[in-house]
Each structure stands twice: as C-alpha cells, then as structure tokens.
C-alpha cells in the first residue's frame, strides 16, 4: 500500500520533471539570439 502510494507519487514527480524540462528549455530558447550569429550568417552568405 505504502509502496503503491510512493509509486504514484513518483510517477507524478516524473511528470513534473518532464514539464520542468520543457519549461527550462523553453526559457532558454526565448533568449534573444546575439547579433554575432546573424552577422556570421550574413558573412557566410556574402562569401557564396
């Protein structure tokens, strides 16, 4: 009984983990891209 409760608690926690992962990742991807990358792409394009 106890173990089943723990099992359920763990499943909930793991679900929360996936949500957190997504949130952390989304947070990171919402940061603005620094100019250096746009400049780099521009330069690569010019070299073609």
């Amino acid at each position: 009984m106890n173990t089943r409760r723990e099992e359920r608690k763990r499943a909930a926690l793991e679900k929360q983990i996936d949500e957190n992962l997504r949130r952390v990742y989304e947070q990171e991807t919402q940061q603005e891209v620094p100019d250096r990358f746009l400049i780099l792409l521009e330069r690569l394009r010019e070299q073609e």
């Binding site: 608690k9 763990r10 926690l13 793991e14 929360q16 983990i17 996936d18 957190n20 992962l21 997504r22 949130r23 952390v24 990742y25 990171e28 991807t29 919402q30 940061q31 891209v33 620094p34 250096r36 990358f37 746009l38 780099l40 792409l41 690569l44 394009r45």
Partner: protein, 194 residues
C-alpha cells in the same frame, strides 16, 4: 525518393536560409552540453559554419534541427576529447552559478530543478534534453546520439528517476541541509554578479 533530385524547388527554400530559425534551440542545446554560455556560443558558431559549408550533405525533407543538433553534438564531443586533460568540470560550482538567475514565483523549485539537472551524468542529461526538453522522438534522439533506441529510453528514464530522487529530497529538506539544498539556497541568495 526518386523525386528527391528535382525537389529543390518543391521542398521549399534553401535550408541555409532556415538556419536562423534554429539558433535559439541550438543555443539551448549547446548550453546544456557545455553548461557555460561563452563556450556554448562558440559551439553554436562552429556548428553554423559546418552546417553552411556541408549543406549539400543535408537530405531535403529530413529534420533540419536534428541534423544541426547532430553536428553540434559531434563538434562538442570531438573538441572535448581533444581537451580531456583540461580542468575536469567542477560541477557544483557550475551548477550554483547557473542557478543564480532569479525568476518570479516558484524560483526555488526551478533552481532546485536546474541544480539537480546539472548533476546528472552527461548521457542522461543529453537524453532528457533531446526527448524531454526539445521534443525529439526516442528514435530521432537515438540516431542523433548514435545509440540504440532502448539506450536512449533507459538513459532518459534513469535521468528522470534520479531527478525525482533529488527533487523529493529537496521537498522535505527544511532541516536537513544536504549539499544540494545548500547549493540551491546559496544560488538563490547569491547576487548576480556581472
């Protein structure tokens, strides 16, 4: 397949013009590997150059992001193999530093989570980032990391389980100052110094 040859126009624009759309994801992935933003951005830069100059190797119609992630990852690991002898990553310090960005509510939980995540072995962190964070399928993650699907699954599951343990610990730790709790608290109280 036979259409591939004349599908340039049909398959849409030059994939190089789409690179820019993947920059945020590439940076996030790079950060998860390097755990340090300066080297993460260097890694992204190398990846862009490689992708640009090898764009003919990209198969139209396949997942560009997965292709880019694979390049980034290979670049990271081959560079790391070269510099293996360099300072071994001082995990705790990195983790604490990474967690200093104060956020709105729930920040302690989030910081706990980040700190715990940083402590996972590279393989588990990577599997979770690819599958849990960026939403690749297990199959895609497997081909990107060059291992069997089952391996990715077990890495991801072990990572989740480990995180669950770490976070459970974090929940009831008011009195029990484990290293992790101390780290998290320090991380929260430490002013962002720039």
């Amino acid at each position: 397949m036979s259409r591939a040859a004349d599908s340039k126009a049909q398959s849409g624009p030059d994939p190089r013009s789409e690179l820019v759309d993947h920059l945020p994801a590439l940076r996030a992935f790079a950060l998860s590997l390097t755990r340090e933003s300066a080297s993460a951005d260097d890694l992204v830069q190398d990846t862009i150059v490689k992708a640009w100059t090898n764009i003919e190797k990209f198969q139209a119609g396949t997942n560009l992001r997965a292709w880019l992630f694979t390049i980034l990852r290979n670049t990271f690991y081959s560079a790391r193999r070269k510099t293996r002898r360099e300072v071994s990553d001082t995990d705790g310090i990195h983790a604490a530093r990474q967690a200093t960005r104060p956020e709105h509510d729930g920040r302690l939980a989030m910081n706990d989570f980040k700190v715990a995540f940083e402590q996972l072995p590279d393989e588990q962190r990577e599997a979770l980032i690819l599958v849990g964070g960026s939403g690749f399928s297990y199959e895609e993650a497997a081909s990107m990391t060059g291992v069997a699907v089952g391996t990715v699954k077990s890495r991801a599951n072990r990572g989740r389980r480990r995180l669950a343990e770490l976070m459970q610990m974090a929940e009831g730790e008011e009195l029990d100052m484990t290293d992790r709790a101390t780290l998290a608290v320090m991380a929260v109280n430490q002013p962002v110094s720039r």
